[in-house]
C-alpha cells in the first residue's frame, strides 16, 4: 500500500484521504494512519506546490552549480555538503558521480545576487576546489510536469 500511496501523493499531494482510500480499496483510517507513519519516518518529507514563476510578476533566477570539492577523511562529502545546504539560498544539493562532486541548485532574485553568493560563500569554502555556474533560462518540465501546456481532452464525447 505504501508505494502506491506515495506514487499518488507524489503527483497530487492535495488529494482527499477519502478519495485515496477509495482508489486503494482501503479504509480511510488505514490510509490516514499510513500517511502519518510515513510522515513520522520522514519518508514523506513535505508537501510542496509546483509553481511556474515565469507566469507571475515575481523575478526569480535559478542556477545549477557544479562544485568540485576535496572530501574529508572520515566524513567523505557529508560535512562539506552540510556546510552548503544550510544556506537558505540553496534549494537542492546532490552528490554526483562523474566529472564533479556536488550539484547545488540556487535560487535568488537577480543574476548578481546568485553570482555573489557563489563567489563569496560557496567558492570561499576551504574544501571547494572549483565551481561552474549555469543559469536556468527556461523551465520546460519540472517534477515530471510539462509547464506551460493546458491539457485538452480532444476525444469525441461518446464512443462505443
Amino acid at each position: 500500500m505504501r508505494e502506491t500511496i506515495l506514487a499518488i501523493l507524489e503527483k497530487n499531494s492535495k488529494i482527499d484521504v477519502a478519495d485515496l482510500a477509495a482508489m486503494l480499496g482501503e479504509s480511510e483510517a488505514a490510509v490516514a494512519n499510513e500517511i502519518a507513519e510515513m510522515e513520522k519516518e520522514h519518508i514523506i518529507c513535505g508537501y510542496h506546490t509546483l509553481i511556474n514563476w515565469d507566469k507571475t510578476g515575481e523575478e526569480k533566477v535559478s542556477a545549477l552549480i557544479e562544485v568540485k570539492v576535496t572530501p574529508q577523511r572520515g566524513n567523505g562529502f557529508d560535512m562539506i555538503a552540510e556546510r552548503i545546504y544550510n544556506y537558505s539560498e540553496v534549494h537542492a544539493v546532490y552528490l554526483m558521480s562523474g566529472g564533479f562532486d556536488l550539484t547545488v541548485m540556487i535560487e535568488g532574485k537577480t543574476l548578481k545576487e546568485v553570482a555573489f553568493f557563489v563567489a563569496n560563500k560557496l567558492a570561499t569554502l576551504d574544501s571547494v576546489i572549483s565551481t561552474s555556474t549555469h543559469f536556468v533560462l527556461k523551465k520546460y518540465k519540472d517534477h515530471g510536469t510539462i509547464l506551460n501546456v493546458t491539457q485538452n481532452d480532444e476525444r469525441m464525447l461518446v464512443t462505443p
Partner: protein
C-alpha cells in the same frame, strides 16, 4: 429513379450511441463518462517512432498481411503475454483496428443461414457485421447475477445445428466482465463437442484487475484450431486513432480473411505499423502503468457507486463499470438522458449494447480522477432526488 440502396444495409439499425453523441455534443460543459477509449496519450516512444517513419519516407504500402517485423512482434507478444503460439506467416493478419478483423472473420467464415451466437451486452458491431455476412445473429442475454459471464447452460441453450460461430467478447465492453480460466475451459469443451468456431475479441486483454491475468480461450487445448483471436493496440497502448489491430488463427481461415482485406483495404496504415513495432518491443511497462491507474479509478468508482447504495457488481476488466439503476423505475435511456440534461454528465444507457442492458448504465473510467469525482457527486445528488 430506382432505389439506390441495399435493403440489407438499410435494415440495419444505426448505433444507439449516435443519438447520445449528438445531444452531448450540443452541451458545452458536460462531463463525459461515455468515452470508449483511453484518456492517456499514446506513449511518446511510440509516437516518436511514427514520426521517424514519416521522416524516413516510409509512406508506401506494406504487404497485405502487414509488415513482416510487426507480425513477428505480434506473435512474440502473444506468446510472452498469453502463451499463444502463432506463425507470423500465414496465421497472422494486421488489420485496420480490431473492428475490421471482426468483419473479416465473419465474412470469411459464414454462409447464408449460419448462426452466430452473440452474448450481450457487448460491443455494438458484432450484430451488424453478422447480418452483413448474411448470417443469423442469435443473442444470449448475459445476467447480472452471473456477473455477466457466459455460463455453459446459456451457451448450450443457444446452440442449434446451424450454429457456426460463438463471439467471445471478454474482457467485456460495456460490463467490464472477464472469464476466469476454469469457466473458459467449460465453454471451450462445449465448442469442441458441438464443433463451433470462436471469434474471440480480446481487445481489452491487457486491462484485467485483481491479480487475475487475461486467459485467451485459444490457449485452451483443442481450441487453437477453432479460434480466431482478435486484438489490437487501441486499448493496450492507447492507440485508438492509429487504427491498428490484428487477427491470429488457423491458416485456412486467415488466408480467406487476407483475401477480403487485400481487396477491400490493401494494407493497414504503414506509419501506424512502424509505431506498433516499437509498442510491442519496448512498451510493456507503459501498459502496466496505465493498468495501475485504471485500477485505482476502478476501485474509486466501485466504492463511490456502492457507497451511494447502487447495486453494482465488481468488474475486473476493461475500463467500464456497469451499475444497476432499475430501482428508479426509469429506462436506462430516460435515466441517462435526465442525468445528462439536468446534471450535465454523459453516460451510455446499457441498452446501446443490447436489449438486456436495460436497467444498467455504462460508465467509462478512462477519465481523470477529478472528472470521475465530480460525476459521482452529481450522480449522488441525482439519485437522492429520486429516492
Amino acid at each position: 429513379m430506382r432505389n439506390p440502396l441495399s435493403d440489407k444495409v438499410v435494415g440495419i439499425q444505426p448505433s444507439g450511441i449516435r443519438k447520445f453523441f449528438d445531444i452531448v455534443s450540443e452541451m458545452k460543459d458536460a462531463i463525459s463518462l461515455g468515452v470508449g477509449e483511453p484518456d492517456f496519450d499514446t506513449p511518446w516512444s511510440i509516437r516518436e517512432e511514427g514520426i521517424y517513419s514519416l521522416e524516413k519516407g516510409r509512406t508506401y504500402y506494406t504487404s497485405n498481411a502487414g509488415l513482416s517485423e510487426l507480425r513477428t512482434e505480434i506473435c512474440n507478444y502473444l506468446n510472452r503475454r498469453y502463451g499463444l503460439n502463432y506463425n507470423p506467416d500465414g496465421e497472422t493478419l494486421v488489420t485496420v483496428g480490431g473492428s475490421e478483423a471482426i468483419d473479416l472473420a465473419f465474412r470469411a467464415m459464414l454462409n447464408p443461414g449460419d448462426e452466430v451466437i452473440i452474448p450481450q451486452p457487448s460491443y455494438v458491431s458484432y450484430l451488424p457485421c453478422a447480418v452483413l455476412a448474411d448470417a443469423t445473429p442469435v443473442m444470449i442475454n448475459l445476467k447480472e447475477e452471473n456477473e455477466f459471464r457466459l455460463t455453459p447452460e446459456e451457451l448450450l441453450a443457444a446452440i442449434t445445428p446451424k450454429t457456426k460461430i460463438l463471439v467471445f467478447p471478454f474482457p467485456n465492453n460495456p460490463t467490464g466482465a472477464i472469464m476466469p480460466k476454469e469457466e473458459l475451459e467449460k465453454i471451450a469443451q462445449i465448442c469442441i463437442d458441438k464443433d463451433i468456431f470462436v471469434v474471440s475479441d480480446e481487445i481489452y486483454s491487457e486491462l484485467t484487475y485483481g491479480g487475475e491475468r487475461h486467459c485467451s480461450i485459444a490457449s485452451i487445448p483443442g481450441m487453437t484450431d477453432r479460434t480466431i483471436v482478435i486484438n489490437g493496440f487501441s486499448k493496450s497502448h492507447a492507440m485508438t486513432g492509429w487504427r491498428l489491430g490484428y487477427a491470429c488463427g488457423p491458416a485456412p481461415i486467415i488466408k480467406q480473411m487476407l483475401k477480403i482485406h487485400q481487396f477491400a483495404i490493401m494494407c493497414a496504415p504503414t506509419n501506424s505499423q512502424y509505431a506498433a513495432v516499437e509498442a510491442l518491443r519496448h512498451c510493456d511497462e507503459n501498459i502496466e502503468h496505465m493498468r495501475d491507474e485504471y485500477d485505482q479509478r476502478r476501485r474509486f468508482m466501485l466504492t463511490r457507486l456502492r457507497g451511494m447504495g447502487l447495486k453494482c457488481f465488481e468488474p475486473f476488466g476493461a475500463f467500464y463499470i456497469f451499475p444497476n439503476i432499475a430501482e428508479f423505475g426509469m429506462t436506462s435511456d430516460e435515466f441517462a438522458m435526465r442525468f445528462l440534461k439536468e446534471y450535465k454528465v454523459a453516460v451510455v444507457p446499457g441498452t446501446a449494447f443490447g436489449e438486456c442492458g436495460e436497467g444498467f448504465l455504462r460508465m467509462s473510467y478512462a477519465s481523470s480522477l477529478s472528472n470521475l469525482k465530480t460525476a459521482m457527486e452529481r450522480l449522488e445528488e441525482f439519485i437522492n432526488t429520486l429516492r
